[in-house]
C-alpha cells in the first residue's frame, strides 16, 4: 500500500512503526503532517471547524462514545471576559485490558498535538494539558520534545500562523490512580487535589478546571481531528462500515495466537478482529467469551462473534464497545477468578467517596474470592446478584466506576452461571483442580 492510500484508509496509524523512533516535527511534516493545522488556523473559523467535526460523526474513543462535536458545542463561545478555557487530553489509559493510547502516544506524538491544537482552536481554549499516567515515561518524554519543537516552529505559543490565536500546552504526569481517568476526577487531580469525581451538572464544558469551561477528550479521539479537518466529514463517514464513522483502534489480549492492536474500519466484525488479526485461540485453548472494550464491559460469547464492533451493535447485544480492546476468556481460565480479578481491581481503585462503591465492591470481591477458594455458600450467588442490582444501577453511585465494575460480574453470572454454581457444589474451583492434575 503506498503512503497516500494508507493515509486515506488508516489515518491514525499511517506513521506508526513501533520498531523505530517516531517522526520528529520535520519528518511528520514531510509526510503531510500539520496539514490540518494549515487548513484550519486563520482560514476556517472555530464555528466552521466545529461544524466539520459535528458532521464527521466522530464519537469519543475513551469509552463512553459521546459525540465529540456535540460535546464541544456546549462550550460557551461568546467572549467570556477574563480567565482561560481549557482543553485536556486524557492519556491516563488504565482501563484493564486497554493498550491503544500508548501506541498512538509512543509512535506519533505530533499527531496528538496537532489534534489538540485544532480542538483547542475550535473551542477557543488558550491552555491545553496532556494528563498522562505516570508509567508512560517514554510517551511523556516524546511529548515534551514534540511540544518544545512546536513552540520553536510557531505552532504553539502566541499568534499561531499569524492568526492572532494563542495556545499554551503543558504535560502533567499523574501519580497513579485509575479513577483519575474519569473526567471530573481528572480535573480534580489536575488542580492538585485528591482525584474524587465531581457531581454533574455543572458539566466541565461549562465549569471544569478551576471553574472554567473545559473539554476532556481521549487520546484516540483527538488523533482523529487533524484528518477530519483536512479531508472532511464525508471522507470520515465513508471510512466506517456501519452507522459509525471513521476507524477504530481495536485490540485483543488473552490466550490468542497473535495478541495486538490494529486500526480497522469502525464496525469491523468481532470475528474478523479475533480470528483475522489476532489469529484465533492459542493451540490447546478454546474460546469461551470476551469483554469487548476493557475490564468494565459486559461479556459477549460465541453467539456474538459475527456482530459488528460499533457502539450501537455492541450496545444492543447488552455490552459496550468501551475502549475497543477485547479481553478473551479461554476454556482453561476460571471465569469466577477472572471476574474476581476485575472486581478486586475496581475495589482497590475505588476513590472511597460513596458508600455502595467503597463498601460494596470489597464485599463483592471478597465473596468471589471465597467462591474461588471453595468456601462458597448456598446464598452467595443471590448476594452477588443483589450487589449487581444495587451497585450496578447508574444513579446509585457518584460516578461510573462502580456500575462499570459490575458489568463483567453481571454478565459473568448470566453466561457462566454453571461455573459459579460448580464452585459452590464442588467446594473447589474446578479449573484449579484440573491444573493441579495436569
Amino acid at each position: 500500500m503506498n503512503a497516500l492510500d494508507r493515509a486515506l484508509t488508516h489515518p491514525l496509524t499511517r506513521n506508526v512503526t513501533p520498531e523505530r523512533r517516531p517522526f520528529d516535527l520535520a519528518a511528520y511534516e514531510a509526510g503531510g503532517g500539520y496539514g490540518g493545522l494549515h487548513t484550519a488556523i486563520g482560514k476556517l473559523t472555530p464555528a466552521e471547524c466545529l461544524q466539520i467535526v459535528k458532521d464527521s460523526n466522530l464519537r469519543g474513543r475513551g469509552g463512553a462514545g459521546f459525540p465529540t462535536g456535540l460535546k464541544w458545542s456546549f462550550v460557551p463561545m461568546e467572549d467570556g471576559g477574563p480567565g482561560h478555557k481549557y482543553l485536556i487530553c486524557n492519556a491516563d489509559e488504565m482501563e484493564p485490558g486497554t493498550f491503544k493510547d500508548r501506541l498512538l502516544l509512543e509512535c506519533d506524538p505530533h499527531q496528538l498535538i496537532e489534534g489538540m491544537i485544532l480542538a483547542a482552536y475550535t473551542i477557543g481554549a488558550d491552555v491545553a494539558y496532556v494528563f498522562i499516567r505516570a508509567e508512560y515515561l517514554l510517551a511523556e518524554r516524546l511529548l515534551r520534545e514534540a511540544i518544545r519543537d512546536c513552540y520553536g516552529k510557531g505552532y504553539l505559543g502566541r499568534n499561531i500562523l499569524g492568526s492572532g490565536y494563542n495556545l499554551d500546552m503543558h504535560v502533567h504526569s499523574s501519580a497513579g490512580r485509575y479513577i483519575c481517568g474519569e473526567e471530573t476526577a481528572l480535573i480534580s487531580s489536575l488542580e492538585g487535589k485528591r482525584a474524587n469525581p465531581r457531581a454533574k451538572p455543572p458539566f466541565p464544558q461549562v465549569s471544569g478546571l478551576w471553574g472554567r469551561p473545559t473539554i476532556v477528550n481521549n487520546v484516540e479521539t483527538l488523533c482523529n481531528v487533524p484528518h477530519i479537518i483536512e479531508r472532511g466529514a464525508q471522507w470520515f463517514n465513508d471510512l466506517g462500515l456501519t452507522e459509525d464513522a471513521g476507524t477504530k483502534m481495536y485490540g485483543v489480549s488473552g490466550r490468542v495466537k497473535n495478541p495486538g492492536c490494529w486500526e480497522l474500519p469502525i464496525g469491523t466484525p468481532i470475528r474478523e478482529i479475533l480470528e483475522g488479526c489476532a489469529g484465533g485461540m492459542e493451540d490447546g485453548y478454546a474460546f469461551r467469551g470476551l469483554l469487548p472494550g476493557g475490564g468494565s464491559t459486559d461479556f459477549l460469547v460465541a453467539e456474538h462473534l459475527d456482530l459488528a464492533m460499533d457502539y450501537g451493535t455492541i450496545g444492543k447485544a447488552g455490552s459496550r464497545m468501551g475502549t475497543g480492546t477485547m479481553i478473551v476468556l479461554d476454556d482453561r481460565t476460571c471465569p469466577v477468578a477472572f471476574v474476581q480479578n476485575l472486581v478486586a481491581f475496581f475495589a482497590r481503585e475505588s476513590c472511597g467517596f460513596c458508600t455502595p462503591c467503597r463498601e460494596g465492591l470489597p464485599w463483592s470481591a471478597q465473596l468471589l474470592a471465597e467462591l474461588e477458594a471453595g468456601r462458597g455458600q448456598a446464598g452467595d450467588l443471590d448476594t452477588l446478584a443483589m450487589h449487581v442490582d444495587f451497585i450496578g444501577t447508574p444513579g446509585n453511585t457518584h460516578c461510573a466506576l462502580a456500575p462499570g465494575a459490575m458489568e463483567p460480574l453481571a454478565s459473568g453470572l448470566k453466561y457462566f452461571r454453571e461455573d459459579f454454581q460448580r464452585h459452590i457444589d464442588g467446594r473447589a474451583c474446578p479449573y484449579c483442580e484440573r491444573e493441579a492434575a495436569a
Binding site: 505516570a134 485528591r194 482525584a195 495478541p259 479481553i327 476468556l329 481460565t333
Partner: protein, 164 residues
Amino acid sequence: MSELIPALSADELAAIDAEIAHAPYRDAVAVDALKIVQRHRGWVSDESLKAIARHLTMSADELEGVATFYNLIYRHPVGEKVILLCNSVSCWIKGCETLRARCREGLGIDYGQTTADKRYTLLPVTCLGACDKAPVLMLGDVLLENVNPAGLMATLGASGEEGT
C-alpha cells in the same frame, strides 16, 4: 535542633517553581511537587512533606491527604528499584501470579515489601497498557514484556536462583 523542616534543594525548588509558574495557585502543583521531591529522594518523608506544604502555602495535613491518595507517591522508603508488577486481567491470564510467587521465593518479598538489602520493593500496578505482551512489569523506569518466570530472577540479578 537547628532545622526541624529541612529546606528543599535548589534543584527541587527550581523544578517546583517552574510548575507554579503556569498554575493559577501554588497548591495546584501539589502532585507535581510530591513527584519532584520523590524523584530526588526516592520517597516522601514527613519532613519532605512538611517542607513541600510550606513552599506551597498549604497545610501539611491537606498535602498528606493528596499524597496518600496516589499509588505512586511513596510515604515509606522503597528499595533502589521498585518492581511494578501488572496484576490486571490480561497479565493475570498470562500468569502474573507465577511472577509474584517467584518474587516471594527468590527475593523473599510480597506486595508492599522491600528486600532486606534494600534493592527491590514489589508493588502491584494497574494494567500497564501492554496487554498484548503480557505478562509485563516495570523494573524501575523500564518496561519488561512477555516476562518469563524462569528468567525473572536472572533478570533481577538476584543470587541463589538459576534461570532454567
